[in-house]
Amino acid sequence: MKKLIAGESTITFEETESLLVFEGSMRLANMKEYDVVTDFLKESSETSPQNLTMDLRSLKFLNSSGITTLSLFILTCKKNNQPQITVLKNDNISWQQKSVTNFKKLWDDVEIKD
């Protein structure tokens, strides 16, 4: 298990399950500060090149720089045609209910589950 602490949030990578679990409130100041998240996602996708699940259900907030970071990661996976991405969302958290479906607009192969 690998863990990244980013501001008020954490991302945990469960390698055996190809699972990324996001928790807390991710509101880093700018794209540069999100570089650590980009690198963590990239390493995770290299470890799990077939399938990768991003569990966002405990992520209370994600600012637009964070949404951009996740979006660009999905576009990179689309370009590489791997890994297959599954996103777990929580409709009781408004930003997820409103904005997570955007990921599928970037890459139709993204699977979104409630």
């Binding site: 509101r27 600012n63 951009t68 660009l72 955007n102 970037l106």
Partner: protein, 183 residues
Amino acid sequence: MTIDTLGEFDIIPDSIPAEGDVFIRVKPIDFITYWKRCGIMADFAASFYAFTQDNPEEQENIISTIFNELIENATKYSVKRHGEIKVHMKLYDTVLKIQTENFTPKLHFQKLRSHIKKLTESNDLDELYINTLAGKPADPSESGIGLLLMIKDYNIKLGAQFHHNEETDQYKVIIQTYYYIEH
């Protein structure tokens, strides 16, 4: 001198009495020093109005998200760390108006004006979202989708007004958002 007014600006003018009226004046240095303060202030603003709503947790998350994007933008693009950001929140029955006012460098002023013009005149915001992200370099310096997501996903009405003070050669940006509280 007013240079331009874009989008849905002053759809509820200040002359109409509000049922709630909060005014915050803050310096960018407060947020730059501790970025977490953006979120703290956004959460405060959200809880201040959300607890009276039918679904307070949902409204708190929405209002905090909107407020946070607005003050993050105003902070990042303020001309001076010791300049001022003014935030005005007014509640009109089921509409929450949030207005930010700050001074920006000329270069950002021009970029922001062009960006908001594109946002407010777009007929297809999904396409704009996809194109904005697809056109980004691998290591972008800025997100550029905050206001776009507000309009696209939160059904926010957004307007902006741009001013130039010729005496001080400063550029002022006023951004207004109107959030129609969902029930």
